[in-house]
């Protein structure tokens, strides 16, 4: 694992340039200027929207100023509880050869909070959601043993690492959650497969076959869809198109988001 630190750091440092615009029907007298931010793939929108909300608040009607803000991209409402990198890969990333969606242009709304989004009234809600996901991941990997043996301060260290974008702080604790016995790996790989306009798929999948062979990304996708996946599909994890022969245990240890799930986009 030690040799792989450069890879972990590179993944952690993945960023997306975003252009935030106030939704057209929401400003009153004059159209405010857009805001451009460089945002970490590993983060969540409620953690970065404070500045954006403050900037646009004076342009919307007084009664709506303190509403919960939400975002859409070309008419798709963005779920704040998905990591930002996953949302970009799913809706806007067209592969490494096509950069036409950079910067990523998002509309900011103060009004008419949509029924299909989770409420997020405070950062504590994000923390609660993050910890509950990382607990589920450890339930899959180690029957929850490692996360439940940690103390409150250890959980806080993980969360603060994400919140403040501190690689060392996060990974010095997260490496415990990534421990796996040689030749066995995790009990199950925490993963979800996302496609446009469909619910995500999550199943139980072991990283090694019964004969002890390493299972690969190809094996996982075949297992998920019940058939070989067309080579014309774009497969993205953390904005990267990994080789289909990459062992899934390695991907889980290195390309998971901070919530310890491999979020795989297939489009």
């Amino acid at each position: 694992m030690a040799d792989d630190k450069e890879i972990l750091k590179e993944i952690w440092d993945g960023k997306i340039p975003i252009c935030f615009k106030l939704a057209e029907n929401e400003w009153r007298s004059s159209e405010p200027e857009e805001i451009y931010l460089m945002v970490s793939r590993q983060s969540y929108f409620p953690l970065v929207l404070e500045k954006v909300q403050r900037h646009f608040a004076e342009y919307v009607s007084q009664t709506k100023r303190h509403n919960e803000v939400w975002l859409d991209y070309n008419g798709t409402n963005l779920k704040w509880h998905y990591p930002i990198g996953l949302l970009y890969d799913l809706y806007a990333n067209q592969g490494p050869e096509n950069q036409s969606n950079i910067p990523w242009a998002l509309s900011v709304h103060f009004d008419e909070f949509p029924g299909d989004l989770l409420h997020c009234e405070s950062k504590e809600v994000v923390e609660s959601f993050f910890l509950s996901t990382i607990k589920e991941a450890d339930a899959l990997k180690h029957k929850g043993k490692i996360i439940n043996e940690m103390q409150r301060k250890d959980h806080l260290q993980l969360w603060n690492g994400v919140k403040s974008d501190k690689f060392e702080q996060f990974w010095s604790m997260n490496k415990k959650l990534m421990e796996a016995s040689e030749g066995e790996g995790f009990m199950s790989i925490p993963f979800r497969v996302y496609q446009l306009d469909k619910p995500f798929i999550q199943k139980l999948f072991q990283p090694f076959s019964e004969s002890g062979k390493k299972r690969t990304l190809k094996d996982l996708l075949e297992f998920t869809f019940g058939e070989t996946i067309s080579s014309s599909k774009l497969i993205l994890i953390q904005g990267i198109q990994p080789s289909m022969d990459t062992p899934i245990q390695w991907l889980s240890e290195h390309l998971s988001y901070p919530d310890n799930f491999l979020h795989i986009c297939v489009k």
Binding site: G115, S128, K135, G144, R152, Q202
Partner: protein, 168 residues
């Protein structure tokens, strides 16, 4: 020591709860979501007058593959269709949010429903297994794990649950 059950036991458990519910005149329904994959869950819908509005409360008992235990999901909607927010749901159930020094894993957290993919509140299952192990009720014993668990979680929300479920 922890206690959990496989999906097949859960499915048998909820079938039994459903047939007891029919006998007792209660309103639990058995929903077959995907028979090929053996995905079933229990659903109960109730309407009541609350703050001069007719509200609808929905409970779902769903199997979590990650934790191998049942999980309670619920939602409350107003007559105009909007869903209760955190403060409304907490005051409805008379729940207090946890102290600052405790982990903000709320008793009820809003999440995407694992089958319907809509916002629902759920009771976090990370302690369920530990909790059930204290009851000395292992999966091997000939008792309904999901029924016993349901009586616990409903009582923690002060939702009445007919004691006759244990008797018939």
């Amino acid at each position: 020591m922890s206690a959990s059950i496989p999906r097949s036991v859960f499915n048998n458990n909820i079938r039994e709860i459903y047939s007891k519910s029919v006998k007792l005149g209660d309103n639990w329904n058995l929903v077959a979501f995907d028979q090929n994959q053996d995905i079933f869950y229990l659903e109960k819908k109730e309407q009541q007058l609350y703050q001069s509005d007719i509200i609808t409360i929905v409970y779902h008992v769903i199997y979590s593959e990650s934790y191998s235990v049942p999980v309670l999901y619920l939602n409350i909607s107003k007559s105009n269709g909007s869903i209760f927010k955190y403060d409304e749901i907490y005051s409805f159930f008379n729940l207090l949010k946890l102290d600052n020094d405790q982990e903000p894993i709320f008793i009820l957290t809003q999440q995407e429903h694992p089958i319907l993919f809509k916002p629902f509140y759920f009771m976090h299952p990370c302690k369920t297994s530990q909790w059930m192990s204290h009851t000395k009720l292992g999966p091997s014993e000939n008792l309904n794990f999901t029924l016993k668990w349901l009586s616990f979680v409903l009582s923690s929300l002060y939702v009445p649950f007919d004691i006759k479920y244990a008797l018939i």
